[in-house]
């Protein structure tokens, strides 16, 4: 089974469970509190996923390994290379 089919199957199982609970298609006679919690669930899961993505991006931006020494060393090497090539006749 392809990944697409797996995801579609999983999503349809979740959505049909949600539909059954929200529209009371099985007449389960649950206390109405649970219906109140169930019906915003798809939107809630999307918002939670968005928050998780935002937090992950923000955290990885804040903890990114900058390598300042390597950067300065590289820039010095570029300057040196430019000087060397100009001496040998290459026009920049």
């Amino acid at each position: 089974m392809t990944k697409l089919l797996e995801w579609l199957l999983g999503i349809s199982v979740v959505m049909s469970t949600w539909g059954l609970l929200t529209f009371d298609l099985l007449d389960l006679k649950l206390p109405p509190v649970y219906k109140e919690v169930a019906w915003p669930m798809p939107v809630y899961l999307l918002v939670v996923f968005g928050c998780y993505s935002l937090a992950t991006v923000g955290y990885r931006v804040a903890t990114f390994n900058d390598c300042n020494e390597a950067s300065q060393e590289l820039q010095a090497q570029i300057k040196e290379a430019k000087k060397d090539l100009q001496k040998k006749g290459l026009k920049f």
């Binding site: 915003p40 999307l46 935002l54 923000g58 955290y59 990114f64 900058d66």
Partner: protein, 81 residues
């Protein structure tokens, strides 16, 4: 990462934590709380917990479409000088 990067990054983390907490209380905790409890006045009616993210998603899609349209309109023929 240093300076502005750290501030922006941790700001995003803090914002998403606050948003997650508020939204979780709104959607999952509040139905189990008495309707005359003091906490209820800090939250909008339940319908807005679906309407507001819907509107936000719509605005996001409009922004993406706008950027895409402007980029498409500004595309130049193959030879880029």
């Amino acid at each position: 990462a240093t300076g502005v990067d750290q501030v922006v990054g941790m700001g995003l983390v803090a914002f998403s934590l606050i948003l997650f907490s508020y939204y979780t209380v709104w959607v999952i905790v509040l139905p189990f709380v008495d309707s005359d409890h003091i906490i209820q006045k800090y939250f909008l009616p339940r319908e807005y917990s679906v309407i507001l993210p819907g509107v936000a998603a719509l605005i996001l899609i409009l922004c993406v479409a706008f950027i895409g349209a402007v980029t498409w309109r500004n595309r130049k023929p193959k030879k880029v000088d």
